[in-house]
C-alpha cells in the first residue's frame, strides 16, 4: 500500500517542472577528512532540514535564491556558509572541526518558547540535570511551580496555570469534582495522543477516602504522570497558551512529548533516592547501509511511599523500540517514524498481617499498556499547492487489573442488597466475618488516525502556511469489568453493583481542523498570525444525547509581532484567544447506574438469624446518564510581552481562562415509593423459613433518595501572570541567572445550583427522607499564589561540571471559601417530588426549618499562608569519558517563618529530598 502511494507521488513529481537546482556535497571531519554520517543540515530561509546519509553525502533541491546552510553534528562546532542558487547544480562540501570542550553549554531549565503561543520547552539536558523519577518531576520547571517530593502512592495528575484545589488551611487536596483540570490536558507522544477516555478502573461507586483506591483512581482524571518515564524523551513542549487547532479534545493545555530518535551511544542510568530506585538502559542504532535508526530502551523503577514500609509500593516497567527513517529524494523528503511501546504501572498495598491481628487487606492495581504508532511525513519541494502530507496512526491496548481482597468484619449484623434487577427482592444478611474479593478488569482499546496536508506559500514578504487535517479517535473498553460476589461485598454498607465494561458502547470522536499561519515582513517588524478552526463531533452517539450530531467549533487565534530591533533589543508582543473543547469520557457518557434500595421489611430472627431473617427491598435502578451533557469548554485568552537584549531574555504573560461546564458527579434527589411492612406481628418461634409478606400489615410511602448524576457543574476560572528572565552567562563565574515565577488566581466552584441534604433525625424521622433543600450558592474556593524561583546556573565546561542553586520562594498562598447562603431557595418534597419555593412559612415548619444551614462567618475569611523559601542544589560532573555522576538535594536549606491564622501560630517544617545517579555512556 505504502509503495503504491509512493509510486503515485513519484509520478506526480516527475511530471512537474523543476525550478532552481540541486546542491550536494559530503560532510567530513576537518582534521582527517573522514565522512561524518547523518549530519543535520538546515537551510535558511525555509528552515528546511535534512540529514546526510551514512556516507556523509547530502543533496538538497532548492529554488533560486540566497541561502545559508547550517550543518551541525554532535561534538563538532556548527558550520555556516552562505550560498547562491542560480539554476545550476552546486557542490558544497562541508568540513566540521571538533568541539574541544567535552561538554557544550546546555540549557538546564525550561525554555520559554519563542513560538506563537506561550509554551515551555524542556529538553534532554534539562531533564538529565533535573534527575527526574517520572514526568511529574519535570513540572517543577514550569512558571508557578516549585519542586515537590515524588508521591508514588497516588495518581499524579497535571495542573497547568492554576493553584490546584486547596483545603481550609491552604494545603493541596484532591477533589474529583475538578478532575477536568487534568482530564483537559492533552498528552501527545510522537504525534499520537495518549487516550484515557476508556479507563474505568474503580472500586464501585461507593467512595471511601480511606481505601487505597481513592488516591490512585485515575478514571476521568486523564494521565497518571507516574507512568511516564522521562529517559527516552528528547524534548517536551508544554503548551500553556492556546494550542494550534491541530490539537484538540482538551480544555487546559497540552504536553507534546518527542522521544529520542537518533543515534546514541549505549547509555545506562542508575538513580536512587529516599523512595525509589531507577534503572534505564538505552541505545540508538544506525542500521548499517540504510541510515535508518532504531532506538531501543528499557526502564524500571521501584518506589515506596514510605521507605520503612515494604508493603506499599509502586513499580514501573517501560520498554520501547522506535524506528526512524529519513529519506531525501530529489522531489522532496520522506520521514517515517514508528514505535512499539510497553508501559507497566503497578500499585501494591497490603496491611502487615503481624500488626493487624491477621487481618487481610490487600490492594493491587496494574496498568499495562501496549502501543504501536506510525507517523509519516512526506514533504514535497516542488509542488506549488502541496508542501507536505502527514499520516499518523496509533493503536493501543491496555490490560488493567485491579484486585482488592479484604477481611470484612461487620461491626453489627448488616445487610447487603444482592439483586441486579429493579423491583422487589430480598437482601442478604451479613452476619459475622468474611473475606471479600473484588476484581476489576479493564481493557481499553484506543485507535487514533490522523491525516493532514499542508502547503507553504511564500510571495514576497508574505508567507502562508496552511494546514488542513482530519482526526479520528476511537476508545472502547473490552474488559470484563467489576467482578465480585454481592453476598461478600467489600464493606457492610455496600450499595454498588458489578458492571461489565465490555457492554459499554465505544466512543468515537471525529475532528477536523484548518489553520493558516500567516507571516508578514514589514518595516514595523515581522508579524505572525495564526488562525485556526477545529470542529469536533461524536458521530455515532445515540440520538438521545443532546450532544449527538452536533459539531463543536473551536476558533483559535494567536499572533506574535516582533517589533523592529533597536540595536540588541528585540522586543515582541503576542497574544491569543481560543476556545477549547473536551468531550466527555466513556464514564461520563455512560456512568454506572445507581441502585437505590429501599427497605420494606426489616425482620431479624432472634433464634435463627441466618435462616429466617428477611430484609425485603424495593430496588430502583437509577440511570445516571445525563442526556443533556455537554462537552467541557474553556475560553482562553492571553497577552505576552517580551524582549531579548543580547543573550538576555525576558518575557511576561497575562492569561485569563474561564471554564463553566466542567464535568462532575452531582447528587440529584427524587422520590421513591415503597411499602413499609410492620414486622411486629411476626412470631419468630412459629417460623420454619423466612416470613411471608402476604399477611403483614403495611403502609405505602415515599421517600427521597439521592443518586449520582453527571453534570456540567464545574467552574474553574484561571487568571494569572507568568514571567521568565534568563540572563547571559557572566563569564568570570560562568553563571547565568534564570528567574521564573507566576501569580495565579484560580476559582474552583460549582456552576449550577445543588442539592444538599441535612443529617438531622428528628422525632424518629430523617428530615432528608422527606425534604431536601436546593441551595443557590457557590461551594468553592478562591485561591491565589505567587512564587518566584531564582536559579543560578554554573557550567564549567572544561571540568565537565554543571551545578545549579535554586532559591524557590513561594511568597504566599491564599485561599478563601466562597460565601454560602444557608437558606435554601427551593426544596423538594417526597410527597410530590416537586420543587417548592422555600418561604417564611417553611422556616416555621417543624421539619422544614431544619433545612436552614448556619455558618461561622470566620469560615469565609481569607486564609493566607506566609512565605516559604527553599534552596535546592543540583550538580552533575563528567568523570572520564564514560561516566557522569549527578546528585541533588531539594530543600537543603529552608526558611519557613511562623505565621498566624485566626490568632493561631502555625509552625512549619520541611524535609530534604535527595538522591543521586550514575550515567554511563559507552
Amino acid at each position: 500500500m505504502k509503495k503504491f502511494i509512493l509510486s503515485i507521488l513519484l509520478i506526480i513529481i516527475i511530471s512537474l517542472d523543476f525550478q532552481g537546482a540541486i546542491i550536494s556535497g559530503v560532510v567530513s571531519d576537518a582534521t582527517d577528512g573522514t565522512p561524518l554520517p547523518f549530519c543535520n543540515i538546515k537551510v535558511i530561509p525555509g528552515l528546511k532540514g535534512i540529514t546526510a546519509n551514512a556516507d556523509g553525502r547530502y543533496n538538497l533541491n532548492l529554488p533560486d535564491g540566497r541561502y545559508t546552510i547550517i550543518a551541525s553534528y554532535v561534538g563538532y562546532k556548527e558550520f555556516t556558509i552562505p550560498i547562491v542558487i542560480a539554476g545550476k547544480p552546486l557542490i558544497q562540501n562541508i568540513s566540521l572541526s571538533q568541539n574541544t570542550l567535552t561538554l557544550g553549554e546546555v540549557v538546564i531549565t525550561a525554555k520559554e518558547s519563542e513560538g506563537i503561543t506561550s509554551a515551555s520547552k524542556i529538553d534532554r539536558a534539562a531533564m538529565s540535570h533535573l534527575q527526574p523519577s517520572s514526568f511529574t518531576d519535570l513540572l517543577e520547571l514550569l512558571p508557578g511551580n516549585i519542586s515537590k517530593d515524588p508521591q508514588m502512592g497516588r495518581a499524579n495528575t497535571i495542573t497547568l496555570r492554576e493553584t490546584g484545589t486547596l483545603g481550609a488551611t491552604g494545603t493541596p487536596i484532591s477533589n474529583p469534582d475538578y478532575a477536568i483540570t487534568s482530564l483537559g490536558t492533552l498528552f501527545v507522544v510522537d504525534g499520537a495522543p495518549v487516550n484515557s477516555d476508556a479507563n474505568l478502573q474503580t472500586i464501585g461507586t461507593t467512595a471511601d477516602a480511606s481505601s487505597p483506591d481513592y488516591s490512585r483512581n485515575i478514571t476521568n482524571k486523564g494521565i497518571d504522570m507516574r507512568s511516564i518515564a522521562t529517559d527516552n524523551i528528547e524534548s517536551v513542549e508544554i503548551i500553556r497558551g492556546i494550542p494550534s487547532a491541530e490539537y484538540g479534545n482538551l480544555t487546559s493545555g497540552m504536553v507534546n512529548i518527542k522521544r529520542t530518535r537518533r543515534s546514541t551511544p549505549f547509555s545506562a542510568r542508575f538513580k536512587a533516592d529516599q523512595w525509589s530506585k531507577l534503572i534505564y538502559l538505552g541505545k540508538g542504532f544506525i542500521i548499517p547501509h540504510t541510515g535508518n535508526i532504531l532506538n531501543l530502551d528499557l526502564g524500571y523503577m521501584d518506589s515506596k511511599t514510605d521507605p520503612r514500609n515494604n508493603l506499599e509500593n509502586y513499580k514501573r516497567l517501560t520498554g520501547s523500540a522506535r524506528f526512524s527513517l529519513n529519506r531525501m529524494q530529489n522531489w522532496g523528503n520522506i520521514r517515517f517514524n514508528s514505535s512499539a511501546d510497553y508501559t507497566g504501572s503497578f500499585d501494591n498495598t497490603k496491611t502487615d498481617p503481624d500488626l493487624a491481628n491477621g487481618k487481610i487487606d490487600e490492594y493491587k492495581s496494574a496498568f499495562q499498556r501496549f502501543s504501536a504508532s506510525a507517523e509519516s511525513i512526506i514533504s514535497f519541494s516542488s509542488i506549488s499547492w502541496l508542501s507536505s502530507v502527514e499520516l499518523t496512526g496509533n493503536l493501543s491496548y491496555q490490560q488493567d487489573v485491579l484486585e482488592r481482597r479484604k477481611q470484612v468484619a461487620p461491626s453489627r449484623p448488616s445487610a447487603a442488597p444482592t439483586t441486579m434487577e429493579s423491583g422487589i427482592h430480598d437482601g442478604y444478611f451479613l452476619i459475622g466475618e468474611y473475606i471479600a474479593d473484588y476484581r476489576s478488569e479493564g481493557k481499553p482499546l484506543n485507535t487514533f488516525l490522523k491525516a493532514s496536508v499542508s502547503n507553504n506559500l511564500t510571495k514576497g514578504n508574505i508567507a502562508n502556511k496552511i494546514k488542513i487535517g482530519i482526526e479520528w479517535n476511537f476508545s472502547k473498553n473490552l474488559g470484563k469489568g467489576q467482578i465480585y460476589d454481592l453476598m461478600k461485598p467489600l464493606s457492610a454498607s455496600w450499595s454498588s453493583r458489578p458492571r461489565d465494561y465490555s457492554s459499554i458502547p465505544a466512543l468515537n470522536i471525529l475532528a477536523f481542523y484548518l489553520q493558516d499561519l500567516f507571516s508578514l515582513k514589514t518595516s514595523l517588524g515581522n508579524m505572525d498570525f495564526q488562525a485556526g478552526l477545529r470542529g469536533t463531533t461524536l458521530p455515532d452517539l445515540s440520538r438521545k444525547y443532546a450532544i449527538a450530531g452536533k459539531i463543536y467549533l473551536d476558533p483559535r487565534f494567536n499572533f506574535l509581532w516582533h517589533l523592529p530591533e533597536i540595536r540588541d533589543l528585540k522586543p515582541f508582543v503576542g497574544g491569543g484567544y481560543g476556545l477549547t473543547t473536551k468531550m466527555p469520557t466513556i464514564d461520563y457518557l455512560y456512568p454506572q447506574s445507581q441502585y437505590n434500595d429501599i427497605i420494606q421489611l426489616n425482620y431479624y430472627d432472634l433464634d435463627r438469624p441466618a435462616e429466617n431473617s428477611r430484609l425485603n427491598l424495593r430496588t430502583y435502578i437509577q440511570d445516571a446518564i445525563n442526556h443533556n451533557l455537554k462537552p467541557a469548554r474553556n475560553n482562553k485568552w492571553e497577552i505576552r510581552l517580551g524582549t531579548s537584549l543580547g543573550d538576555n531574555r525576558v518575557s511576561i504573560t497575562y492569561f485569563n481562562e474561564k471554564l463553566r461546564s466542567g464535568f462532575r458527579y452531582s447528587n440529584i434527589y427524587a422520590p421513591y415509593s415503597y411499602r413499609e411492612y410492620d414486622a411486629s406481628s411476626i412470631r419468630g418461634s412459629e417460623l420454619s423459613t423466612i416470613p411471608t409478606l402476604d399477611n403483614l400489615p403495611y403502609s405505602d410511602k415515599t421517600v427521597l433518595d439521592g443518586y449520582r448524576f453527571v453534570t456540567n457543574g464545574t467552574r474553574i476560572d484561571k487568571e494569572g501572570i507568568e514571567f521568565q528572565l534568563n540572563t547571559m552567562r557572566w563569564k568570570p563565574l560562568r553563571t547565568s541567572l534564570i528567574i521564573n515565577g507566576a501569580w495565579f488566581r484560580t476559582i474552583y466552584s460549582n456552576s449550577i445550583v445543588q442539592f444538599s441534604p441535612v443529617n438531622d433525625v428528628v422525632n424518629g424521622k430523617a428530615i432528608s427522607d422527606k425534604y431536601v433543600g436546593l441551595y443557590d450558592y457557590n461551594d468553592g474556593r478562591v485561591n491565589e499564589q505567587f512564587n518566584t524561583n531564582f536559579m543560578f546556573d554554573n557550567q564549567i565546561n572544561n571540568l565537565g561540571l554543571i551545578f545549579t542553586t535554586t532559591i524557590q520562594c513561594l511568597w504566599f498562598v491564599k485561599s478563601k471559601l466562597m460565601a454560602k447562603e444557608g437558606r435554601p431557595t427551593y426544596y423538594i418534597d417526597a410527597l410530590d417530588g416537586k420543587l417548592h419555593p422555600y418561604t417564611t412559612e417553611s422556616e416555621k415548619d417543624p421539619m422544614l426549618r431544619y433545612l436552614i444551614k448556619t455558618y461561622n462567618e470566620n469560615q469565609f475569611k481569607t486564609v493566607k499562608v506566609a512565605p516559604a523559601m527553599y534552596v535546592n542544589f543540583k550538580a552533575s560532573k563528567s568523570i572520564g569519558k564514560w561516566l557522569r555522576l549527578s546528585l541533588f538535594v531539594n530543600r537543603i536549606i529552608d526558611y519557613l517563618p511562623e505565621y498566624k491564622v485566626n490568632d493561631l501560630i502555625i509552625r512549619r517544617k520541611a524535609d530534604a529530598y535527595f538522591g543521586m545517579e550514575l550515567n554511563l555512556t559507552l
Binding site: A168, T169, A356, N357, G358, K359, Q407, A409, P410, S411, R412, P413, S414, A415, A416, P417, G427, I431, G432, E433, S493, W494, S495, D597, I598, I599, N602, Y604, L606, P609, A610, L615, L617, Y674, A679, I682, G684, V703, D705, N759, D760, V761, V762, N763, G764, A766, S768, P846, T854, N856, E857, N858, Q859, K861, V863, V901, N902, L904, I906, R907
Partner: protein, 432 residues
C-alpha cells in the same frame, strides 16, 4: 433484689421497737457504760468543707437499742458494753453547690470497756431521688480476626434509692462535645445546659415502668443475642429497652428485636444508627425533660460557633445541636482516656471527674471493658448502694469487666478465659 413486703413490715416493727427502747433510758449507772473514742476518717476527696448535722448511731446488735450522738459536739460517747453496728452520717455542701451526704459504717464492733477506740472510714454520697447510671459498656468486643464488634454496647441504669422509681420519661443522651477536644463554643452555655447530639427517651405515661430499689434497667443498642454474629460477644436479648434507628437505607440498617420495646427517638445527629463512642470520648447522661417532646424540639436547638485548632491551622466551624438545661439532668458521666482528656463537657456541678476504658487513644486493651459505679455498701436486704458524688473519677470503677460478661460467663478478652466471678461493681465479688 426486690424488697419484699414482709421485709418492709419487719423494718417498721424494728423502728417502733427502737423508739420504745429509747424511752427506757438512764436505767444504768454511769460506771456500767464504756466510754468510746470514735475516730472518723473523712473521705480524702474533701478539702476542709464544713460538715453539718454529723451524728453517730450505735446500734446494739443484741438488744437492737440505738444510741444517737452528735459528732463531734457530743464529747462523751458512752454505750453499754456489747456488740454494735456503728454508723456515721453527715452532710456537706460541695463547692459546686451539691448537697452531699457523708456516711460510714462499722459492723459488729465489740465494745467491752472504756477506752475503746473505733475508727470509721466514711464516704460521700449524693442523695438523688431518681435512677442513676450504673454502667456504660461502649468499647465493644472483638471478633476472632481482631476486628471490632460494636453492636453490643449498652447502658445500665440503677435504682440507688430505697423506694420505687418510675423509669418513664427518662431520656438517655450523648454529649455533642468530646472530652478530648477543648473548644471555645460561642455562645458558651455549659454552665446552664448540656449540649447533646442524640436523645432517646423511655416511653410511658409516668407510672408504667416501676423500678424497685436495687433494680437495674438495661438499655441496649441492639437487643439480640450477639453471639450469632460474634462468638466472643454476649446476649442482650433480655434488655429492657433498645434504641432502634429505623432507616430505609440498607447501609444504615439497624436491627430491631420485636420483643424488646424501643426507646422513643427524639433526636439524632446521624441518619445512620447511633452507637456509643467506642473510644469513649463523650459524656453520657440521663435527664427528665419536664416539657413535651414537640415543645422541646421546637425551642431547645442550640447553634454555636467554634474553631477547630490543629497543627495545620484553625478551622472556623458552626454547628447546631440540642441543649438540655442542667436542672433537668439526673446524672452525667464524662468518659475519656488519660492521654487525651482535655476537659469535661458538662458543668462541674454535674460531674467533676471522668471514667475511662483504656489509657491512650485507640487503646487496644479497652475492648471487653466497661465503666461501673462503685459499691459503697450493701443494705441489710443485700441490695447494693452505689457511690454517687458527681465525680465520675471517684464514683466509677473504670476499665473493668462488664456486668453482662460476668453474668453470662463469656470471655473477658480475645484469647482470654471466660468470666468466672460475678461482682457488684467490677471489683467487689458477690459472695454467696
Amino acid at each position: 433484689m426486690i424488697m419484699t413486703l414482709t421485709k418492709i413490715i419487719k423494718y417498721i416493727i424494728l423502728c417502733f421497737l427502737t423508739i420504745w427502747l429509747a424511752g427506757c433510758d438512764d436505767d444504768f449507772a454511769d460506771s456500767e457504760y464504756a466510754h468510746v473514742k470514735v475516730n472518723v476518717i473523712l473521705p480524702s476527696e474533701l478539702n476542709g468543707e464544713l460538715i453539718n448535722d454529723a451524728s453517730i448511731n450505735f446500734r446494739n446488735l443484741t438488744s437492737g437499742y440505738i444510741t444517737n450522738f452528735c459528732y463531734p459536739s457530743d464529747n462523751q460517747i458512752k454505750v453499754l458494753p456489747g456488740l454494735y453496728d456503728i454508723e456515721y452520717t453527715g452532710t456537706l455542701i460541695s463547692r459546686e453547690g451539691n448537697s452531699i451526704s457523708i456516711k460510714g459504717v462499722r459492723r459488729s464492733v465489740q465494745i467491752l470497756s472504756s477506752g475503746t477506740t473505733v475508727s470509721i472510714s466514711t464516704y460521700c454520697n449524693l442523695e438523688i431521688d431518681d435512677l442513676i447510671i450504673s454502667e456504660i459498656f461502649y468499647t465493644g468486643t472483638l471478633q476472632n480476626s481482631g476486628n471490632q464488634y460494636l453492636g453490643d454496647d449498652y447502658v445500665k441504669l440503677y435504682n440507688n434509692t430505697d423506694h420505687i422509681i418510675f423509669a418513664d420519661g427518662i431520656t438517655l443522651f450523648e454529649s455533642k462535645f468530646m472530652t478530648t477536644e477543648k473548644q471555645t463554643f460561642i455562645p458558651d452555655i455549659m454552665n446552664e445546659a448540656v449540649t447533646v447530639q442524640a436523645m432517646y427517651t423511655i416511653p410511658g405515661s409516668g407510672k408504667e415502668h416501676p423500678i424497685n430499689p436495687g433494680e437495674f434497667v438495661l438499655l441496649a443498642d441492639v437487643a439480640i443475642d450477639h453471639r450469632t454474629a460474634n462468638p466472643n460477644s454476649f446476649s442482650l436479648a433480655h434488655a429492657d429497652w433498645e434504641w432502634y434507628d429505623e432507616s430505609v437505607t440498607p447501609g444504615n440498617l439497624d436491627i430491631d428485636n420485636p420483643l424488646v420495646p424501643n426507646l422513643d427517638k427524639w433526636y439524632s445527629y446521624t441518619q445512620s444508627f447511633w452507637m456509643l463512642h467506642n473510644r469513649g470520648f463523650k459524656a453520657y447522661g440521663i435527664a427528665r425533660i419536664p416539657i413535651d417532646k414537640e415543645e422541646y424540639l421546637q425551642n431547645y436547638r442550640y447553634s454555636y460557633d467554634y474553631e477547630i485548632v490543629t497543627n495545620a491551622g484553625t478551622f472556623p466551624m458552626n454547628q447546631t445541636a440540642y441543649k438540655i438545661p442542667n436542672e433537668w439532668i439526673i446524672d452525667v458521666v464524662n468518659c475519656s482516656v488519660e492521654s487525651e482528656w482535655k476537659w469535661n463537657v458538662t458543668a462541674p456541678s454535674l460531674d467533676i471527674g471522668w471514667a475511662y476504658c483504656g489509657f491512650i487513644d485507640k487503646d487496644k486493651t479497652r475492648f471487653f471493658h466497661s465503666i461501673r459505679r462503685k459499691l459503697l455498701y450493701l443494705r441489710e436486704d443485700g441490695t447494693p448502694v452505689l457511690k454517687d458524688t458527681n465525680n465520675s473519677s471517684l464514683d466509677f470503677n473504670s476499665h473493668t469487666t462488664p456486668s453482662e460478661i460476668e453474668l453470662q460467663h463469656t470471655i473477658i478478652g480475645l484469647g482470654c478465659d471466660t468470666a468466672k466471678t460475678i461482682t457488684y461493681d467490677g471489683i467487689t465479688p458477690v459472695s454467696d
